[in-house]
């Protein structure tokens, strides 16, 4: 039954470790170019439909508007055909056929609503329920369970099985702190197995035993170590795999659904925030084929419990070594006093934008700082106070230009200083998908990691880049031969001492090979950002001028900035922290202003492709905290430099003035090749004289589960850290003595 699954895995598991020993020819077996198929027509329930050749019958039925019940079929996974729920009647076929496993044939006549089909479905349902426990009242899937719904719709109203000896019993598996199992409920659809093997790339999940004894598991004691594991919860059509942190917390009908955008990485995954009252109960993915398909990373899904811990709920003013709660008036005037007392002038006033700053507040803050006569705008990263090496004048210099779905067109990818598996987990699954199904070749420069697909390892420092650019090595040749090559530069490269020369090398490589890397159809030069706010910050020019970068700031405004190096902040500087968590930034502050977290505000997020998306507030911000841009607007009044926008619409007008792309939601504006080339030219010019030290590129994310204040405050993420990374110093209790600061 797993035939299809195993053919999906590209047969060089050794390649996963970046071994090049396997002859590259050897693993080409499954390569297939997606040929353009002709369309075929058939009749479903008397309705004529036209579908591309090679579609499954179930897809044709769907196209005709007929609902086909199913358990094992999933359009993003390989076809297994083992649940038999999708039976339909086909003319001249003696038996009902499984529509998911049957290709649509031209001219065939299909019925989905005949007595035979009804009976078949009822029979299948009966068998599925024969061994399924009747524990819906204590099952977390209740209310959103495919088996429950479909047995109501298609099943019989009574059972003929009365096994006094009980039903089949299977022991529960331990898949780690995220996925709770109740394997008695499993109907062996193998969706989870297919997901783990195909999409997530952890080939540990499988089926053991046969017949009545068949069960899902890992055979040996193991946890499912994948940053996408939470998706099996959504995939499981029954309650066999449910969410552990959410267990027994709520029923789906009690929840309010809010469609929003995820901020734990720069992919901008589309999510649905389910809340009850003022609490976020869970986060689920929304389908968006252009961004996250229908997966989200475990951090996006499970870090939400961090939203309830260590929140800043009232403005705080530091007195001595303690924070004292204050009113907004007091806090804002304390800032005005602080600014006056330090005597900060011009560029001595600095603002640092953190990972979770939304676009609205970035724009407001930039306007405020500019109004105060300063150009000293920094991003919260290593070397973020200096102007970024790639410049921000041309968007294509710092964005993921080919777009995320575009990855699937690439036939050679070079990864430089990035581990997409941790920096953009969902995007990484696209690379894996492409690697599985096409002849994609991946080259890797940087710290060795398990990327879930095989790669040619080129080296770990600038030397490897130079060799690649010089065309040395096997991979460089493959890359040159590729039709749509793609270079992905990690965001950590611009933080690296050798960053400038890496950019210089690669940008000039693109210039020389522009006939392939920079055509009207394809822009193969891309930067993979890892912070949700970064693209927006660059888009609005939230960077310092060269002059401003050299000043020592006396007044520092940290907007969600929690990665700052405390040593870089001078003792006598006056520090304001605006954000939602009492994390590192708040610890450094003289005044803390409580902002709203991403689930509490309706703001714009620009993802690594430059795609603006609008999040929405699911719950109100706690306590006295406020929308971030409003805080800045209020402060501007106290500082006597009133910002000219009264409401969010006016602010979005201002954003439109800065760059229309910021408010053109859900669309990606591609840069024309001429402009992109001009951008590269400037980039090459500005980095011409860059020296390099030859230090190895390190992966910027050491612990995938804790990368921002929300995930650092999350208990679930702490458990994941313990379970999956073996990191002993995890846990929220011992976090840098933060509690002490707030005592």
């Amino acid at each position: 039954m797993l035939r299809l699954v195993s053919t999906a895995s590209r047969p060089s598991s050794a390649g996963r470790l970046g071994k090049t020993a396997v002859p590259p020819k050897g693993r080409r077996a499954f390569a297939s170019t997606s040929a353009k198929h002709a369309d075929i027509s058939l009749t479903v329930d008397g309705k004529e439909v036209t579908v591309p050749q090679g579609s499954a019958l179930i897809q044709a039925c769907e196209a005709a508007g007929a609902t086909i019940p199913r358990f094992c079929y999933h359009d993003r996974l390989a076809i297994a055909g083992n649940c038999r729920m999708c039976l339909v009647e086909v003319e001249r076929s003696p038996k009902p056929v499984a529509s998911c496993a049957m290709p649509a044939m031209p001219g065939s006549k299909v019925w989905t609503n005949t007595p035979l089909v009804h009976e078949a479905r009822e029979g299948v349902m009966e068998f599925l329920l024969a061994n399924h426990p009747l524990d819906c009242p204590i099952c977390d899937q209740g209310g959103e369970c495919d088996l429950q719904d479909q047995s109501m719709r298609y099943g019989s109203d009574r059972s003929r099985f009365h096994e006094i000896t009980g039903k089949r019993a299977v022991e529960d598996k331990n898949l780690g702190p995220l996925v709770k199992t109740s394997m008695n409920r499993c109907i062996q659809c193998t969706r989870c197995v297919r997901f783990a093997n195909e999409v997530a790339g952890v080939e540990d999940l499988g089926t053991t035993g046969r017949g009545n004894d068949m069960q899902i598991g890992m055979y040996v004691e193991k946890t499912m170590n994948s940053e996408l594991s939470g998706n099996v919860v959504d995939l499981c059509p029954v309650g066999a795999l449910t969410s552990k942190p959410y267990a027994f917390h709520a029923r789906p009908w009690e929840l309010k659904n809010t469609e929003s955008i995820d901020v734990t990485d720069a992919v901008g995954s589309n999510i649905r925030v389910d809340s009850r009252g003022v609490r976020v109960m869970r986060v689920q993915p929304r389908t968006n084929d252009d961004v996250n398909e229908e997966w989200i990373s475990d951090k996006a899904r499970y870090a939400y419990d961090g939203l309830t811990f260590q929140r800043l709920t009232a403005p705080l003013i530091k007195q001595g070594d303690r924070f004292v709660a204050a009113t907004w008036e007091e806090a804002l005037s304390a800032i005005a006093d602080g600014l006056a007392k330090t005597g900060a002038q011009g560029d001595e006033i600095q603002a640092i934008a953190g990972h979770l700053a939304d676009t609205e507040s970035l724009v407001a803050l930039k306007d405020l700082i500019n109004c105060l006569g300063s150009d000293n705008l920094a991003t919260d990263q290593l070397g973020g106070t200096a102007p970024p090496v790639h410049g921000v004048d041309v968007r294509s210099n710092y964005l993921f230009n080919p777009t995320i779905p575009g990855i699937e067109q690439a036939d050679a990818i070079l990864l430089v200083g990035t581990n997409p598996r941790h920096e953009a987990a969902v995007l990484n699954s696209r690379i894996r998908k492409s690697w599985l199904h096409t002849t994609l070749e991946v080259g890797f420069i940087g710290e060795r990691v398990d990327t879930a697909y095989g790669y040619d390892y080129l080296g770990q420092d600038i030397k490897a880049v130079q060799e690649f650019v010089a065309g040395k090595g096997e991979f460089a040749a493959k890359f040159k031969a590729a039709k749509k090559p793609l270079i992905i530069i990690g965001s950590a490269i611009s933080e690296h001492p050798d960053g400038a020369s890496v950019y210089n090398q690669l940008a000039s490589y693109v210039q020389t090979h522009k006939n392939k890397l920079l055509t009207p159809e394809w822009n193969g030069f891309s930067v993979l950002q890892r912070a949700a706010s970064r693209s927006a910050a660059y888009d609005i020019g939230f960077v310092s001028s060269a002059k401003a970068a050299k000043t020592t700031p006396k007044f520092i405004y940290l907007l969600n900035a929690d990665e700052v190096d405390p040593k870089s902040i001078s003792k006598d500087a006056f520090v304001v922290y605006q954000g939602h968590h009492g994390d590192l930034g708040a610890q450094l502050a003289d005044v803390c202003l409580p902002g709203a977290a991403y689930t509490e505000k309706s703001t714009t997020w620009v993802n690594t492709e430059g795609r603006a998306q609008l999040g929405s507030a699911a719950v109100p911000p706690p306590g006295a905290s406020r929308d971030d841009w409003k805080i800045i607007r209020a402060l501007s009044e106290v500082l006597n430099v009133q910002l000219p926008y009264e409401d969010v619409l006016a602010l979005r007008d201002r954003m439109w003035e800065i760059s229309p792309t910021l408010v053109r939601y859900d669309a990606v504006e591609s840069t024309s090749p001429d402009v992109a080339l001009a951008g590269l030219k400037v980039l090459v010019e500005s980095t011409k004289k860059a020296a390099f030290k030859g230090l190895p590129f390190e992966k910027p994310i050491k612990n995938f589960y804790m990368t921002d204040p929300i995930s650092r405050a999350s208990v679930t993420m702490a458990q994941c850290t313990r379970a999956f990374t073996g990191d002993q110093e995890s846990g929220i209790s011992d976090e840098k003595g933060l509690q002490a600061a707030f005592a």
Binding site: L2, S6, S9, P11, S12, S13, A14, V22, P23, G26, R27, R28, A29, R160, F161, H162, E163, I164, T165, G166, R168, E171, K173, E203, D204, L205, G206, T207, T208, G209, R210, G211, N212, D213, M214, Q215, G217, M218, Y219, V220, E221
Partner: protein, 246 residues
């Protein structure tokens, strides 16, 4: 696979006044389909193919195209099982996975699917009693009983205390024409009666190896009452050929 279900059981004869809803017996597995680390079976126990077997393994692998190396998983597991005293430990599976460069889980799936891979240690002589319909009709219930009694009252699936014999029930071995039959090691012992079964087991216990095949004296599966057709001598090679081929 329901060994317990098919043990000879005398069901009390009942007169059914009405049809019961269900009359099936509980179906229990005779094996565990997850791995549990034990002192004798855990991944830390090393397993390495012997030099000779490694050569054979390489030879087997060479039968398949290099990208379909994993097709060799069944023969290789068998090789490992033979080398590992007749059972496939987790280390054997891991070794095979490594040799074939496939994820270990894919090997576990195969090893748990096929019942002929023993995932628990077995005795020196592995006695498999066929109890599928043709054998059953010819008295395999009796044979199974005899085997179990003769080996000191063990049950199917169990090993004798001296670890000499393991008895299991198996499905049809394809020797129905010589039913009932048992398999000991790799050899078939057919046309059994209680007495011949006991004799075979005794011989094995003494360290001898009885002659495999039908124990009734007949030749293969020929008619036990003598041939009724093809009784004349079969002609040999060359006969009826033109002289130059004779």
């Amino acid at each position: 696979m329901s060994a317990i279900a098919r043990l000879p059981k005398t069901l009390p004869s009942r007169t059914y006044l009405s049809r019961t809803f269900s009359s099936s017996l509980p179906r229990k597995s005779d094996a565990l389909f997850v791995h549990r680390d034990t002192s004798y079976n855990n991944p830390k126990i090393p397993f390495e193919f012997s030099e000779e077997n490694l050569k054979r393994a390489t030879e087997i692998i060479s039968h398949y195209p290099p990208q379909y190396k994993k097709a060799a998983v069944i023969p290789l597991l068998d090789l490992g099982q033979r080398q590992n005293k007749g059972w496939t430990s987790i280390s054997v599976m891991n070794r095979v996975a490594k040799l074939l460069e496939m994820p270990p889980m894919r090997v576990y799936e195969v090893a748990t699917f096929y019942t002929m891979f023993n995932r628990e240690p077995i005795g020196e002589h592995f006695v498999q009693v066929c109890t599928t319909t043709p054998c059953m009709l010819r008295g395999s219930t009796d044979i199974l009983h005899t085997v179990c009694q003769h080996l000191g009252g063990i049950k199917p699936g169990e090993t004798t205390k001296d670890r000499k014999f393991t008895v299991v029930e198996v499905e049809c071995q394809g020797a129905c024409s010589n039913a009932p039959m048992i398999v000991v090691g790799d050899d078939f012992y057919e046309d059994l009666t209680r007495e011949t079964t006991a004799k075979i087991l005794d011989a094995f216990a003494k360290g001898e190896k009885p002659k495999p095949g039908p124990q009734s004296g007949r030749h293969t599966s020929e008619n036990s009452a003598g041939l009724t057709a093809l009784t004349s001598k079969p002609y040999g090679p060359g006969q009826f050929c033109s002289p130059e081929f004779q």
